[in-house]
Amino acid sequence: MTQSVTPDLSARVGSVLLKNPVMSASGTFGYGLEFMPFYDISRLGAVIVKGLSLLPTPGNAPGRIVETPAGMLNAIGLQNIGVERFVNEVAPRLDDAGAVYVANIYGRTIEEYEAVARRLSDLPALAAIELNASCPNVKEGGIAFGSNPEGLSGLTRRVRAATGKPLWVKLSPNVSDIGEIARAAEDAGADAVTLINTIVGMAVDPRTRRPMLSNVTGGLSGPAVKPVALRMVWEACKAVKIPVVGIGGIQNAGDALEFLLVGAAAVQVGTANFRNPNACVEIVDGIRDFFVREKIFRLDDYRGTLLLR
């Protein structure tokens, strides 16, 4: 009787069924294809591609990243090839690779958000659209929408109307009350919320007296933010009924399990990909091993089972 049943890792984010709860986080996984030398990306729950805008975007001047204790600041400024090239050149290759993929989008105006969402709706295989309402690194990156419930609600409603694809809204952690923001997204028709995006931070060089980033401030990610991300995901899970996707500082299966335990439907892995290109699949395997060891047969038997005294 030592025979072990392979646990069922399948996860559901609203209407989107994933073979496992591990996705790559936008902006840390390129367009997905870059990982093909390392592993078969169809093994992931989903690939979330780099944030797409209506037109190709050059991004910020160099001085875009700086390492911080157990974290990093980035101010890439959403450099990307634009939605048109994505649809024509990248999407077919993701289809060929058998990947489940989600497009992360942003616009300088609500109309741009709508246009990008509309264009992406043409892609039959696209699993969902993730609305980046929280990029701290471009003035127009949605931060104006993402840091108050009214702004987020308006944006979400408009994009919701522009596409039939499942709509995930990515939330900014730079707020007083994440539950309130999550509810605003839910009420405006989001199919899921994903969080956290990066926390606004800064680093300066005491000797040259200059900021380390050309953009002065940047977004903090990596293990350093995990405790904050986990708390916000927990709060969001309590605040809304739609699925919550947990993101922030996940490096290994144990970290991913923490987010699932507090109620996340699935997780995204970002900065960890940089140090270990295999991070995402190692996390899938690690979750499976944990479930085997702990005799948990289905993800749903574990999700949201945090014990409070």
Partner: protein, 272 residues
């Protein structure tokens, strides 16, 4: 030259010892890898998440026997990551993503090669020298350093025993030419004019100011210059867009990834 597809491997340090200001570290890896001079590895694997990011190091040598591989690096301690590396011992684990980036190009035509390394820049230039030495090509090496002690040991220089091949330059005149490598190159260019029309190609790696001076000196003379640039990197394999530099592209310029389209660029395309 085509570059091999990158892989992520767990290695074990074979040795890691300081020689003057440079450390030389060899790491056993599961399989032998091929690389193009100028390509690099992202090195990590120390305990804990601080430092968080891997560090780029040029692949100095690659070898191996019976299916197992080994790679060698040369580095200088400049900050937290390299200090941490220097404290590792034989037997310690290390994780590597390699080979990465676009290395030096060696067009087939008959020409002379001038290889220029400033500071620890020799770490990507010596592999190029080793390749040229293997092809019995015509090359000379220019090494620049602030002072005598900061030059690499002579026995590390591939083909360095050939008389007249190696030009040492120090800012303080404690060894070789008294002045920068750029000044030494200017001398060499002047001498070349008198000695004939052999086509020359420069491969250079070192501080940004040095590379810029070389480009300004050589490009107007139609000498082809390839430079290996540095940049802060998070991933090293093209997925974070953190490492970009401005590159001219016809009329316009755009940000290209140093880790992917580079680190070696044609000096004409770099926005200096």
């Amino acid at each position: 030259m085509p570059h091999g597809s990158p892989r992520f491997v767990h290695g074990k340090i074979l040795h890691n010892t300081g020689s003057g200001i440079f450390y030389r570290m060899e790491v056993a890896i599961p399989e032998r890898i091929d690389f193009v001079p100028g390509q690099f590895a992202m090195v990590s694997g120390w305990p804990g998440n601080d430092p968080l990011l891997p560090r780029p190091l040029a692949i100095f040598r690659s070898g191996g026997v019976r299916g197992k591989g080994a790679v060698e690096f040369v580095y200088k301690v400049v900050g937290r990551g390299t200090a941490l590396l220097s404290g590792l011992h034989a037997g310690d684990p290390l994780a590597l993503t390699l080979p990465l980036g676009h290395g030096f190009e060696f067009p087939g035509e008959d020409r002379s090669w001038w290889l220029v390394g400033g500071g620890v820049g020799f770490s990507s230039v010596f592999p190029a020298a080793a390749a040229l030495d293997g092809q019995r090509a015509d090359f000379e090496i220019f090494l620049g350093a602030r002072t005598r002690e900061q030059l690499p040991p002579g026995e590390w220089i591939p083909g360095g025993a050939v008389p007249g091949r190696v030009h040492l330059c120090t800012d303080d005149g404690t060894a070789g030419f008294f002045g920068t490598v750029a000044a030494a190159l200017r001398d060499r260019i002047d001498r070349r004019k008198s000695s004939g029309p052999a086509r020359v190609s420069i491969l250079a790696c070192g501080p940004h100011e040095m590379l810029k001076a070389i480009a300004e000196l050589a490009l107007p003379l139609d000498i082809r210059v390839q430079v290996s640039l540095e940049s802060s990197m998070a991933c090293g394999f093209g997925v974070c867009w953190g490492c970009v530099t401005a590159i001219r592209d016809g009329e316009t310029s755009g940000y290209r990834r140093v880790c992917r389209e580079g680190p070696v660029f044609d000096a004409r395309e770099v926005v200096w």
